[in-house]
């Protein structure tokens, strides 16, 4: 490859936690950045510099007009676009408000029904707006997964994507199952693994922060399971909505009431 790979990091609506977690890879950060030409690393801005990039990492959801414009610009000037973190992959926690009246929301937060921030009315994942080449889920992303993906991308490959549930990692680490042993409301069966079952390992049920397994997660089955363990349907659905509101099967379940 002639010259270094040009890389940009961009942030839409979100807490910037994913870029922060990259900055937090302190001991290896230099090693990462010395390999590329860092075109931009913007924590929150739509101030897009000219010139294309080979790889664009984008975090945050598409929530405002500004996000929409910035994302389209980024897509137009990059070769590969990587969605970083749950906001970019699924719309983030904010997307769990999907279905609520945006004016009501404005009113409850800002005290006015006026659309102050060019709010689009919903919080969309990048893939609902532009073509996305790779999605790295998580809230925030897993540093190890990011490094592996980064290395693959630099070499011109796409990394192997994880599409197995958290339960697989529970079994690999021999973590006692919280559903089986305690009847807890664990979302591990419908959630993408890659966190090494961090929460169940610490005795805490999975809340699904890495998002549902695309096109696979059986949310109706999960609901049934939670109900059999004594959960009220609404509570169970709300639990799943936190990170999976824009998963089509869950949207259907919610639609049915």
């Amino acid at each position: 490859m002639a010259g270094k790979v040009r890389v940009g990091f961009y942030s839409l609506t979100g807490c910037a936690g994913d870029l922060l977690s990259i900055l937090n890879i302190e001991d290896r950060l230099l090693e990462i950045f010395e390999k590329v030409e860092l075109v931009e690393f913007v924590m929150a801005s739509s101030n897009v510099k000219p010139g294309g990039v080979d790889i664009a990492f984008v975090e945050g959801s598409v929530t405002t007009e500004k996000d929409l414009k910035a994302l389209k610009e980024i897509r137009a000037k990059c070769d590969r676009l990587v969605a970083l973190g749950d906001c970019a992959v699924w719309g983030g926690v904010q997307a769990s408000l999907t279905g609520l009246d945006p004016r009501e929301l404005m009113k409850s937060v800002y005290g006015t029904e006026q659309n102050l921030y060019g709010f689009l009315g919903e919080h969309k994942p990048l893939s609902e707006v532009v073509k996305v080449d790779l999605e790295l889920p998580g809230c925030p992303i897993e540093q190890e997964e990011f490094i592996k993906a980064f290395v693959s991308l630099l070499r011109g490959d796409l990394p192997e994507v994880k599409d197995y549930p958290v339960c697989i990692e529970c079994k690999i680490r021999e973590v006692p199952c919280l559903v089986v042993e305690k009847g807890e409301a664990c979302l591990g069966p419908i959630t993408v693994g890659g966190c090494k079952a961090r929460c169940p390992y610490h005795g805490v049920p999975c809340i699904g922060c890495r998002g549902p397994i695309k096109d696979e997660a059986n949310v109706a089955g999960e609901l049934l399971m939670l109900m059999e363990k004594g959960w009220k349907p609404l509570d169970a659905i709300n639990r799943m909505k936190l990170f999976a509101a824009r998963y089509k099967d869950l949207a259907k379940l919610v639609g049915r009431g």
């Binding site: 990394p159 697989i168 042993e181």
Partner: protein, 337 residues
């Protein structure tokens, strides 16, 4: 097969002999269930336990392991681990039979090095057990270990009758001269009575004869969907199954972009990628396809041992978060419900 008798009060001497052969791993209580773990003293483990969540296969095909080192210019190099001897103490008959099946798969004409070397450095000490409400090993002929162990401890109350399964077992018994005794005819009566009692304790059963034919020929039955709708596709049933042996292989490079590893990880046929090929064609696209595939795989016959690929350990039922009962599914296919 030679049988010796070990009074229970002298069990610690057997334990010490095993320890001097290698690291002893035995069932330790973790949560509500058990796990094979390294133990140093008698108080840490128990020989009267229901089941471990993860079967002994974890010692031979590791749940996750790096198998090769890779260098982007030089290629591959095996990762050789320091070989160590391991005694698995307290293995149930079903799990021993499952290991026999895995042995056939991993140590056939093209033996898997990692598996074979660990296996040859291991000693299996079986122990008799009492079935709980999930066990159906008797239905599939796996309630008794015919071979596949070095020692097998049969509890007859105040003593163990020990079947000695080979040279490794003999070497342990040799160290216990003066500790083990010749069994008397009364001991055998106790053994018979114990086994009779045990065989009456099984509460669950499966029609194992003709199982392959029935499961295969009723592939089109709409009963499957009733269960696969509930199934979360989480793969737990596969990973806890002592005869499931699927693994995935991945490769990645380190940040230095020069060195990396090739690894393998226990896989499950419930996962999307299991039968997916490049270009997006999936030979088992739906959860229903995968559900039926698992039941077909588990209801088929291992040609090498002549045993069913299910040893009736009950784990898949116990550890299914969706509460799907393996026997209930098969019995309903049999038309028994």
């Amino acid at each position: 097969m030679r049988i010796v008798k070990l009074p229970k009060e002298r069990f610690s001497e057997l334990f010490e002999a095993l320890k001097s052969w290698g690291e002893v791993h035995a069932p330790v209580k973790v949560g509500r269930f058990y796990s094979f773990k390294r133990v140093e003293s008698l108080g840490e483990f128990t020989l009267s336990y229901t089941r471990t969540m993860i079967p002994p296969k974890k010692y031979f095909v590791k749940p996750f392991e790096d198998i090769l080192k890779v260098h982007v210019e030089k290629g591959y190099e095996p990762i050789v681990e320091e070989s160590k001897r391991i005694v698995l103490l307290g293995v149930h008959a079903c799990d021993i039979n499952a290991l026999r099946i895995l042995d056939g798969v991993y140590m056939d004409e093209i033996p898997d090095h990692y598996y074979a070397s660990r296996r040859s450095n291991s000693m299996i000490v079986g122990v008799s057990c009492e079935p709980d409400e999930y066990c159906f090993c008797k239905s599939v002929g796996a309630d008794y270990a015919w071979t596949g162990f070095d020692l097998f401890l049969h509890d007859i109350g105040d003593s163990y009758l020990i079947r000695v399964g080979g040279s490794k077992g003999e070497s342990i018994v040799a160290e216990l001269t003066g500790v083990v005794e010749e069994p008397t005819s009364i001991d055998y009566v106790k053994l018979r009575d114990y086994e009779l009692k045990r065989s009456r304790m099984f509460r669950r059963s499966l029609n194992a004869s003709y199982l392959p034919e029935v499961v295969d020929s009723l592939y089109g039955s709409e009963l499957w969907a009733k269960y696969s709708d509930k199934c979360l596709g989480c793969g737990s049933c596969n990973l806890v199954c002592p005869t499931c042996r699927c693994y995935d292989v991945t490769e990645s490079l380190d940040l230095n972009m020069v060195e990396g590893v090739r690894s393998r990880r226990w896989d499950s046929c419930f996962l999307r990628s299991h039968a997916l090929v490049a270009g997006g064609l999936n030979f088992r696209p739906t959860r229903l396809d995968r559900f039926k595939h698992r039941y077909n795989c588990k209801s088929s016959i291992d040609q090498r041992t002549g045993m069913l690929f299910c040893v009736g350990c009950g784990r898949c039922t116990v550890f299914c978060p969706a509460g799907i009962d393996h026997l209930e599914v098969l019995n309903s296919i049999w038309g028994l419900r």
